[in-house]
Subunit: 374 residues, 2 copies
């Protein structure tokens, strides 16, 4: 069941029901503008990853600032975007199952779409779906950029798969998918540079081999919020797939710059508003946002602008908070903003964004691709 929205436009922030997913619209728009400004002078384009926001509204705001399209990880997410008028969508992932591929192919009437493969069986299945739908589909080869999850090795194996795609009557070779996920959260610039140097080297080698065999490589896609500047400056990557920059979670904020200080390129714009529901003993308080409201896979949430209040445990429906004797004790009913440890799955826990500015609710946006796991 879709949950009712926790707010109405015009309300004060302190009137919003909790837990609620807030967007600080000033910080959010600053992030959108900052990324657009950083990408514009590079040779690359932004194809923002919608796995962060799951919202056609935000996709359109990114594209209004120059993004060429969107990435998704799932067909259900691509559907949500295409149904919301997003015209250019890459499923930056392997998709298996005839029913899903038929749904994917059906989107080609609404949007320019592409998908990834890292195995000949993917190519055969996408070819069958394209043939059955009477459409021609664009397929990228995913190479393992260093994350050791999906992706064929860079080089000859990737080129062989590209040739199989190009030889399929209802497919076209769309380029390379070369995203290095784990590099995004390496803490020092040296570690991130070293990781992405390997990704760039693999992508360059593969592009050169493709060219030697007469295959054009329209897209080389990769890069996230932690490393996009490196891919952008490589001369090889043509599209950047950052997503988290719109919100910036607590985990990304632990990345360090050249001076060893936290990177400050983007600002926290996503918060879970929560209410103190219990203050049973001095030094402990409990809030109504458990991990069903704020994801904990990349660490516990932080209390915004209150380093004296520490979330020490998240159970399903409760966040347990501790504080020292010097802290003014939280009171039952007090509302606090939490900074999620990881934005993407936190967004997946909610049906509505509550956009706030100057202490007032300005807008409600549905999280249309929430739960789109298929």
């Amino acid at each position: 069941m879709l949950q009712p929205p926790p707010a109405q436009p015009g309300m004060r922030e302190d009137e919003v029901d909790t837990p609620a997913l807030l967007i600080d619209l000033d910080a959010f728009e600053a992030n959108l503008d900052k990324m657009a400004a950083l990408v514009a002078p590079t040779g690359a384009k932004l194809r923002a990853h919608s796995k962060t926001h799951k919202s056609p509204v935000i996709a359109h705001l990114q594209m209004a600032r120059g993004a060429v399209g969107q990435c998704t990880q799932k067909v259900a997410e691509a559907e949500a975007l295409a149904w919301g008028g997003v015209p250019d969508i890459l499923v930056s992932n392997e998709v298996v199952g005839a029913a899903k591929l038929a749904r994917f192919a059906a989107l080609s009437k609404l949007a320019r779409i592409a998908i990834c493969a890292d195995h000949p069986s993917h190519v055969a299945a996408i070819e069958a779906a394209a043939r059955d739908a009477g459409v021609r589909l664009s397929v990228l080869v995913e190479i393992d950029a260093g994350g050791h999850r999906c992706g064929v090795p860079a080089g000859a194996v990737a080129v062989e798969l590209a040739r199989a795609i190009a030889a399929s009557p209802n497919l076209r070779f769309g380029g390379l998918q070369a995203y290095h996920g784990s590099a995004q959260h390496k803490r020092t610039p040296e570690e991130r540079r070293a990781a992405i140097a390997g990704a760039i080297e693999g992508a360059r080698l593969t592009v050169d081999l493709l060219h030697q065999q007469g295959l054009e490589c329209p897209i080389v896609g990769g890069g996230g919020t932690g490393t996009f500047a490196l891919e952008a400056g490589s001369g090889v990557y043509t599209e950047l797939q950052a997503g988290s920059y719109v919100f910036l979670d607590a985990d990304y904020a632990r990345n360090l710059d050249e001076d060893g200080a936290p990177v400050t390129t983007f600002r926290h714009s996503l918060f879970v508003l929560t209410t103190v529901v219990s203050t049973p003993v001095p030094g402990r308080a409990v809030v109504d946002a458990g991990h069903k409201a704020v994801a904990v896979d990349s660490g516990l949430p932080l209390v915004w602008q209150r380093p004296d209040l520490r979330i020490v445990h998240e159970s399903d429906e409760h966040g347990k908070m501790e504080y020292g004797p010097e802290t003014t004790a939280p009171v039952v009913g007090e509302k606090l903003r939490l900074v999620p440890g990881h934005c993407d799955p936190t967004v997946d826990r909610h049906d509505w964004y509550v956009g706030v500015r100057n202490g007032r609710v300005e807008c409600l946006w549905p999280i249309v691709a929430r739960g789109g796991i298929s």
Copy 2:
């Protein structure tokens, strides 16, 4: 947006789209029957916790076997049950916010309802909601049974709060909420007995004090899947709040019995069906169930009946699996069942249960209280 169901009744299990949340109906019904048989001879009644299943369908199956009602943690969950015809609901948690309490009070026209308090401000707010709705509400005092989350200390403080409830014109004192969450997952029977001995002692002390002051204590509620037999045998607890027994997750299956072997009272009946989507190198395969499909807060999922396949990492949309050279390599398109590390939040990731028996889909049940975090 509600996601479309991943299956239709009559399909073979291997035709179900993935990721999908499967119930093995034979194992599930065996769990329901087993719990009913275990509780029946004790003095206590089962008030099953719906935070596990989030479904009026399953609530009714429990009540048909003798459960006196249901627990929820949130008003939104209580709404989902009351709207689905469940006649007796305890919100076993503190709820703060006038809007939520008005929603709660409104349910009193549909069901017998009760709620918890651990602070005088809760009592005042519930009294105001009851007065505004023109109803009389039952309020339990939560005591800290040893989990050190919510709850006043057992004894005099709890009695004082009970008197405040009893003295409120639109409230009645409903009893004690004394659930010890962290005791459920202590691995050895000795540890569980020691933890619950403390909970029983606190509850008994408080009940005695209440009686000395002339206050009836209609309910003493607590106990989960790990310890319910201890509370049932205490002579103090009147209601048991086990929930996970219907599904049994991988974490509960690590609890040990008196012989040091895993407890086998209940069977795994909940699975996430997943598809192998990538087999990039020997020894590694990737499935399409990430932690957006299977919760990881209590550990990684296990591959059902395939100990040779180990899930080593869950990212948002991918599960990374490793296996040794002796294992027959998984192939792209192969479907596997995962046993969730933690059932309750895994259920919260899905819109539909797919009930299977003898390899066929027998039923689809909507997870109506999914996302009910308010």
